[in-house]
């Protein structure tokens, strides 16, 4: 089920009605939420609820036995069981075909011709997200950062809680489980603000991402045999920068709004990332929960910055390469991650060399623009399905197509660039503040007017119920 669907609206209305019904105890309400969350997931493909269940049960017991273990070695074994089961599921469903194809390619390169039987594995929606969420539970217990949850119901609800289940934010158990200890009901003010956030998220997804930006992107990236010129290549890539932000941030905003309506707090996942100055700043603003997960469970265990520059760069690159691979079973995603790793490493090197440099306002704007443009280069690899396609677009961006094809009509192009300029300008303006702080300073009439227009636009755009881009991860 997706937020931008009629089914979800009906589902959410029922969940809210049950959650605020006075005749249910808090314990029963948690059970209701858990059942609703399983239904939310099963609405996509019922049998795959089993995977969710396996991840939940294995990690619950792994943490329980870890705490009871008397020896460190036993604790480590339970941690490794959890890691193997979760990454094993992820590896099979998400990377099985990819690994097999690469094995065949490598075997072929050394003269061994192997034709494996056809392997059509369905990628369970959200598997990358919920396995990371459950892994953080066992890893936090192993690293002694937290204790196991006191109740299986609270833990199971943490894993399946539908607002974050299929596309994040990737929550840690310490962020969500304590919220289940006491009855949570939102006050009316909170519910309406949650609905406003839901509207904003849906507007970003339905109107901006799907309605206006996606067709411009597809005109270039999904046009086989066409050679886009400089204008079309840049416009499509910038449009994709807008699309992926609106799609993913729209989902996160909707998730935060939905959770708020139920009385729960979810963390920020985006903080105006296109206003970032430099790449470490970018990764503190883009998909915050994933980047912090990778930092806490991969980068720091790999040594972080505690063992000298060489090890630091290696840890950075390793983390970003794996972070790229997390996004999809394709080498283009690895290159995307690798580019970010290079950017981060270069930035670290430059910072060490120019420690005294304090940029002025103009320099900050210039650096933000440079960061944004370099991020767009990486988006080419993220969006293109093959290196050939990426090469075609990059060649176009460099103005080196011999006979470029015109692919995007001027009208949609102008609208897309207006939207992307608006996004970039907003991110620059809001980089040091929050949406809530700005809204609090805005007159109520203006808020009502904007909210009205956003909601009206969502309804008349109608939407085609298309899945969020990150559902594919």
């Amino acid at each position: 089920m997706i937020f931008n669907s009629l089914t979800f609206l009906v589902f959410f209305a029922i969940v809210m009605a049950l959650h605020y019904a006075p005749f249910f105890s808090w314990h029963q309400k948690k059970i209701n939420l858990m059942i609703a969350s399983y239904l939310f997931y099963a609405a996509w493909n019922p049998p795959f609820v089993i995977l969710l269940w396996i991840s939940t049960v294995v990690d619950w017991w792994a943490a329980q036995w870890m705490v009871r273990a008397k020896q460190d070695r036993t604790r480590k074994i339970w941690m490794l069981i959890s890691v193997c089961v979760n990454l094993g599921m992820l590896g099979f469903f998400k990377y099985g075909g990819f690994l097999l194809n690469n094995f065949v390619a490598i075997a072929g390169s050394v003269g061994v011709i192997y034709h494996p039987p056809g392997w059509d594995i369905i990628l369970p929606v959200g598997i990358s997200f919920y396995t990371f969420a459950t892994l953080s539970y066992t890893l936090d217990v192993y690293l002694r950062r937290s204790k196991p949850a006191g109740s299986f119901l609270n833990y199971a609800l943490f894993v399946t809680f539908f607002p974050h289940l299929v596309a994040g934010p990737i929550m840690r158990p310490t962020e969500l489980v304590p919220q289940f200890d006491e009855p949570r009901q939102a006050k009316a003010n909170q519910i309406f603000f949650g609905l406003a956030l839901l509207t904003l998220g849906l507007f970003q997804k339905v109107v901006l991402a799907d309605g206006f930006l996606a067709p411009v992107v597809e005109a270039v990236y999904d046009a086989p045999g066409k050679m886009p010129g400089m204008l079309d290549s840049w416009v499509a890539t910038l449009a994709f920068a807008g699309q992926i932000f609106c799609d993913f941030a729209g989902y996160s905003t909707s998730a935060i709004g939905v959770a708020l309506c139920l009385g729960f707090a979810m963390p920020d996942n985006f903080r105006f990332p296109y206003g970032a100055v430099g790449f470490s700043d970018f990764w503190r603003r883009w998909h915050i929960t994933l980047s912090c997960w990778l930092r806490d469970y991969l980068y720091i265990p790999l040594g972080g910055n505690r063992h000298g520059p060489a090890r630091t760069y290696a840890a950075l690159m390793g983390t970003m390469l794996l972070g790229g691979l997390w996004h999809g079973a394709n080498w283009t995603f690895v290159v995307w991650g690798g580019l970010h790793g290079l950017y981060l490493s270069a930035e670290r090197w430059l910072r060490a060399r120019f420690t005294g440099f304090t940029p002025g306002r103009a320099s900050i704007l210039g650096l933000a623009l440079l960061t944004f443009l370099l991020v767009n280069i990486t988006w080419v690899f993220f969006r293109a399905k093959t290196f050939t396609a990426a090469g075609t677009v990059l060649t176009g961006m460099a103005g080196m197509q011999a006979k470029p094809d015109a692919l995007i009509a001027y009208g949609p192009m102008m609208i897309a660039m207006l939207i992307v300029s608006g996004i970039f300008g907003t991110h620059i303006a809001m980089r040091n503040t929050t949406l809530e702080a700005v809204v609090e300073r805005t007159p109520s009439v203006a808020i009502a007017g904007i909210w009205t227009l956003l909601l009206f636009a969502v309804i008349i755009e109608q939407g085609q119920g298309s899945a969020f881009i990150y559902f594919a991860f």
């Binding site: 089920m1 997706i2 603000f193 109107v207 720091i300 094809d405 995007i408 809530e436 109520s444």
Partner: protein, 385 residues
């Protein structure tokens, strides 16, 4: 939760707390009268929607009950086709030009409509050839240039390729809710969504050699339950929209189809027909009418003798060509490619009566209505069309 926005810098995220267990997040609610604001928004949006609905009905000529189509609706029909006595595949011509109610009135059998706009009917034929569950009569409607000349499946590609994914519970419930809403709201038409209106309004084909949204095919049909398509009545009555639709077809101009390609298509068709027959099914081809303005280019690109005639011989199949139906001559094709609503009924009547002669799988009902003719659908004065 916190009432009142946190000062800048105080709402921290996990990026501020490396290597630690993350605490319960603090979400700040801006100090504003949200209930009052939300209530005003609700009423304002209701008012705007009422106006939008009024505009859709009054000015745009949209109608409630036009439930539209979707990949999910196609998947629903596709599943039903597995056990259908008669299924229809093809592009928009057979989609618009078949009146399912008339078909049923004549034969007692309601066909399952599995055609898809802008879709190569050969690929749909092969799709059914690959389905061991189908044993019925498959009617393949074709537009020659698309059937013989289009290398890809077309607009229906995603619907066909994702067929297995489009029957999940959330997709089905979404379809039901959407249909229920469309029974009451006229504005819910994909062709008149915000982005389409904006793009069309802004761009009138400024950029040469680029498909502009203005040049695309706009709304030309209405869809009713059972994926029953009919020509949108405004195409029949509104000269501007009719002219735009005619312009969008661009006369069905294009390169001539190479004989080698036509041979390949015939060979693949023969194989698909054989596989369906081996399972106990059958295939009959139908070529709906097109206006002389298009026909001249269609005939140039793939002459009937080299395409249609050779196809029937090569596949050892029977076919019904619009040229061979006396009652289907000079019917009204408002935008040259699809029949008017009334003429679709006349054409259906004609081709079904012919169908009954060609296959023992269908019989004319004893209480079937009397045959229709051109006078049942052609207006007195057709000069305006």
């Amino acid at each position: 939760m916190r009432e009142g926005a946190l000062p800048a810098g105080l709402r921290q995220t996990a990026s501020n707390r490396p290597g630690q267990a993350q605490p319960v997040p603090t979400r700040d609610i801006p100090l504003r009268p949200w209930v009052r604001i939300g209530t005003c928004v609700f009423f304002a949006v209701a008012l705007l929607l009422a106006g939008w609905e009024w505009n859709a009905r009054r000015n745009l000529g949209l109608r409630a009950g036009d439930i539209g189509d979707s990949p999910q609706a196609w998947a629903e029909a596709r599943r039903a086709a597995d056990t259908s006595q008669v299924a229809i595949v093809g592009d928009s011509r057979i989609l618009f030009d078949t009146d399912q109610a008339r078909f049923e009135a004549l034969t007692g059998v309601r066909p399952t409509q599995v055609a898809f706009v802008g879709t190569n009917s050969r690929t749909l034929l092969e799709h059914f050839a690959n389905d061991p569950k189908f044993h019925g009569l498959l009617l393949v409607g074709m537009a020659d240039t698309m059937y013989f000349g289009m290398p890809v499946i077309g607009v229906g590609g995603p619907a066909v390729h994702n067929y297995a994914k489009n029957d999940k519970p959330s997709q089905l419930t979404g379809l039901w809710i959407d249909r229920w809403l469309q029974k009451y709201f006229a504005f819910m038409d994909a062709e008149y969504r915000l982005s389409n209106l904006t793009n069309r309004g802004l761009d009138h084909g400024w950029r040469k050699k680029v498909d502009s949204p203005y040049e695309d095919v706009w709304k030309i049909s209405e869809t009713f339950p059972g994926r029953q398509y009919f020509m949108w009545n405004r195409i029949e009555t509104d000269a501007y929209l009719r002219g735009h639709a005619r312009h969008a077809w661009d006369g069905f101009n294009g390169p001539n189809i190479p004989p080698a390609l036509a041979n390949k298509v015939i060979a693949r068709t023969a194989e698909a027909v054989r596989r369906i027959r081996d399972r106990g099914g059958d295939v009959i081809f139908i070529r709906p009418p097109s206006a002389p303005e298009l026909r001249v280019n269609e005939q140039r690109r793939i002459p009937k003798a080299l395409g249609w005639d050779r196809l029937l011989v090569g596949a050892n199949a029977k076919g019904i060509h619009a040229d061979d139906l006396p009652q289907a001559q000079k019917l009204v094709l408002p935008e040259f490619s699809h029949l008017s609503r009334k003429c679709a009924t006349v054409f259906t009547d004609a081709y079904v009566r012919r169908l009954i002669e060609l296959t023992p799988r269908l019989k004319l009902r004893a209480d079937a209505p009397a045959p229709l003719s051109r006078t049942d659908c052609v207006p007195q004065n057709i000069a305006s069309l």
